[in-house]
């Protein structure tokens, strides 16, 4: 019985490798806040990742609590921010994109379940001021119902 030829093995592996390289999205920000997403059933998917800007809200992780306290904070990119920074953030996100794509941009709010609405309402007001009106309340799929 002739042995199976393994000459094409590298090709196969390379093919797999390219697949994973292309489909990988490296997480570009380190989460500094704890975000436990709420559950919902009426979900829609975020189609184009490149058009999404993220706003994270939650209590800071333990190592940051000494400086930033244990109240829910906003994280934009890699740093803690205040509500007043959101308009600048949206502007810079817009500038980083192609002009034709700006109307299709979505802001994804990743907010912890146990956050109070006060801070979320403030964020929403800021987004309205920046006319970033298309938003997505990030949530996970609820199984029951």
């Amino acid at each position: 019985m002739p042995p199976i030829s393994t000459a094409s093995l590298p090709d196969i592996v390379f093919m797999l490798l390219f697949f994973f390289m292309v489909s990988t999205t490296m997480r570009e920000v380190n989460l500094m806040v704890k975000v436990g997403l709420p559950a919902a059933t009426e979900l829609s998917k975020l189609e184009k990742k490149s058009l999404v800007s993220y706003i994270y809200v939650g209590t800071p992780h333990n190592q940051y609590q000494r400086v930033f306290g244990s109240e829910p904070r906003i994280q934009l990119n890699d740093q803690f921010a205040r509500v007043s920074d959101i308009q600048d953030y949206i502007t810079s996100e817009r500038e980083a994109r192609d002009e034709a794509e700006v109307p299709f941009m979505i802001t994804s709010l990743k907010v912890d379940e146990y956050t109070k609405m006060g801070i979320v309402t403030d964020i929403k007001q800021e987004l309205r001021k920046a006319s970033a009106l298309h938003i997505n309340y990030s949530s996970r799929k609820r199984e029951d119902l």
């Binding site: 490798l17 994973f20 919902a40 379940e113």
Partner: protein, 192 residues
């Protein structure tokens, strides 16, 4: 004096590729971001007078209030999140044209002809202390109610799920059951 260049051994190529493959396998996160999609109303211009919009009739508004203890008040009654969907559906559809449910207005809509379209608006107001999780649960039920109505209508008219309809048909169904969820303007906007 051409020296013979030794051939590069290709035997380890597969190993290297495997190593890279495993690295990417481990670092890949295949999670698809999903969530409740909403549109915020545009900010009114600062010089706009407050009272130039005609008042909406009381029967046309479905009032949902959420307090700081995450309790719901739906149309003046204490209610649970689980019951909200049915109530919202009944409000938006108003199948028996009841007096206390919203008025309807006859509109010409493609595929359907003249249809009675509800004038109902869902109004949601939350407290500063409301938990975000509760807020999302309420939003989810309200969006779900409208999605359910659209789905039922699509099944009844086209015999297909709303998702499978083409763009024009979806638009027609959307015209009959518009997604009118309005959120009350916050009374006071404070800094952080």
């Amino acid at each position: 004096m051409a020296r013979k260049i030794p051939e590069i051994p290709a035997a380890s190529l597969a190993d290297i590729a495997f190593m890279l493959l495993i690295f990417f396998l481990v670092t890949t996160t295949m999670d698809v971001d999903s969530g409740l999609e909403r549109r915020l109303p545009p900010m009114p211009p600062p010089d706009q007078e407050d009272d130039d919009t005609p008042p909406i009739k009381e029967r046309n508004v479905f009032v949902v209030l959420v307090n700081a203890n995450n309790q719901l008040l739906v149309e003046g009654e204490v209610s649970r999140v689980e019951d909200l969907r049915e109530k919202a559906k009944e409000f938006m559809a108003n199948p028996y044209n009841e007096e206390n449910l919203p008025e309807k207005e006859v509109k010409e809509i493609d595929f359907f002809g003249p249809v009675e379209v509800t004038k109902g608006v869902i109004s949601l107001r939350n407290d500063v202390g409301t938990q975000y999780g509760t807020y999302i649960a309420v939003q989810n039920e309200l969006v779900g109610a409208i999605n359910d109505l659209r789905e039922e209508l699509a099944k009844q008219k086209f015999g297909k799920s709303y998702e499978k309809l083409d763009r024009d048909q979806q638009g027609a169904v959307r015209d009959i059951y518009p997604s009118r969820i309005s959120e009350a303007e916050p009374k006071k906007v404070g800094g952080n």
